[in-house]
Symmetry: C2
Subunit: 290 residues, 2 copies
């Protein structure tokens, strides 16, 4: 299958290049999807691993490369970083841009089942299926070595993508993730809007529920969380995820970062730790003992 | 003299804090001026040196802290970084926001003499006189140790602030500076607009003219310039500055950075080098031999 993409921009940074692309996405109802990649210099000489970053509410595919400082570490470790958008765009659905926490820029990384969103809003399949194929078809990457991380709504996205596909990703981490969306107002708004009123159907996209249901899936999960994050108590509920991990024996490295907030001053401070964490997993040779 | 300031925000990053303030500025016609500071953790224990960053066209006081990654290095070296705005704001001058390259966000770091700009647009005095006093009055800094750098229009600003006040700054550097504004269309537009038609008056704010006129002023000047910068040939004219430095014996470290462009992917790649450069100068004890 062809996965043709159009390059929109390219800019050198730390010896890597920051590149933006668009492509028509069948998974997203044939809308035009954009993504950013940070292409490390090592890709000229060998297949490199892939690390997906899922951004948060109100962000798009550019946010992470503008604010995180990830370029330095992508170049250093030789990892291709892929940043998808946070929702389909310009679907024509009336009111898709009306609310900051539902519709465009708030796709919540689920496959919508309710009309009219179910025609376009399949961000879960886009991130876990279509986009990886687009990347494999167009970049010199090792499809056996991919990991995923994200921030806030995108931290939720990273956790559910990994927990629902534990063999696809070698590691998962998150910054201030929405950790138990069935129990917070933002999560319930998106889950009801995209999936309808059957609350049982929401649980398939809830990291805390998935851990409880399926048990441990990774040797470890890394989460950084700022103690001054204004969303911590009511929306993120990371302690619920922590309890679920403890109850099933899933190792979780939860670091409460004193006096840090929710935004990119927080993320950029700890981004190197996350690269080092994923690099360890991505550097393992699959089936190395054979 | 009191220099009272109001804190607008604070956010922790790399152990430093990124803080935004506003104050009524007499130099800027009693308009409300905003600035950002990156406050390093060392300030709790000792007076720290100060490094001013002047931003470019269309930017404001927040741009540098959002995109440069400077927080990491401010915290590491223990330097207070100060980021003023690029012009007065909300003066009430008709059309001040109309053009991207004149008026608001394009103050060009001069003292305007033409009506109506001369009532407010005194960015040169603001950056070199009022703002340092505001900083000394409100932060635990060493007023004998300050340096300056900037980008594009702000690279021009840093060069003229330093070359016109060589005893005030211990070092100066720039990213892709407007180096000879009397000879480029953007520079001439601002110089004519703020200073009038007398071209002789423009030369006092032209780094290339100042070097030619006054001779060498610093042990060295550091400039980074991307070779894919679209403004290099017509607007920045760094080779004119280089020739002037050569003609008077001013040491200049001009690094042409292969395939880098004009924006923050370029700046963030080399920002550490500039911090290391300024840190060397700022670490000298003034009159150490006495």
């Amino acid at each position: 299958m062809q996965h043709s993409i159009d390059q929109l921009s390219s800019s050198k940074c730390f010896g890597a290049t920051v590149e933006r692309y668009s492509h028509v996405s069948p998974t997203l109802g044939n809308t035009l999807a954009k993504f950013h990649v940070i292409v490390p210099p090592q890709i000229k000489h060998r297949k490199v691993p892939v690390l997906y970053f899922l951004a948060g509410l109100t962000c798009n595919d550019e946010t992470f490369v503008l604010y995180s400082g990830a370029q330095r570490y992508a170049a250093f470790y030789g990892i291709l970083v892929v940043c998808p958008d946070t929702s389909p765009r310009d679907t024509g659905i009336e009111g898709e841009d009306r609310e900051y926490n539902f519709g465009s820029s708030a796709g919540f990384y689920v496959n919508a089942t309710t009309h009219p969103w179910n025609k376009y809003y399949h961000m879960f399949d886009y991130v876990t299926k279509e986009l990886p194929q687009v990347i494999y078809s167009n970049f010199n990457v090792d499809s056996n070595r991919q990991s995923i991380f994200g921030h806030s709504m995108g931290g939720h996205g990273a956790l559910i993508c990994a927990l629902k596909n534990p063999t696809q990703y070698l590691s998962v981490s998150a910054f201030a993730p929405v950790s138990n969306p069935v129990n917070c107002s933002f999560g319930r708004k998106c889950l009801r809007g995209y999936l309808g009123n059957d609350k049982e159907s929401w649980k398939q996209y809830d990291a805390t529920e998935l851990i409880r249901e399926n048990g441990p899936q990774f040797p470890d999960i890394l989460i950084d969380q700022g103690t001054l994050d204004p969303f911590l108590k009511d929306q993120l509920l990371v302690e619920n995820f922590q309890k679920a991990c403890q109850s099933v024996g899933q190792n979780l490295t939860l670091r409460m970062q004193q006096d840090y907030d929710h935004e990119y001053n927080f993320i950029s401070t700890f981004i190197h730790d996350h690269f080092a964490y994923h690099n360890l997993a991505l550097s393992q040779k699959p089936n190395a003992s054979i």
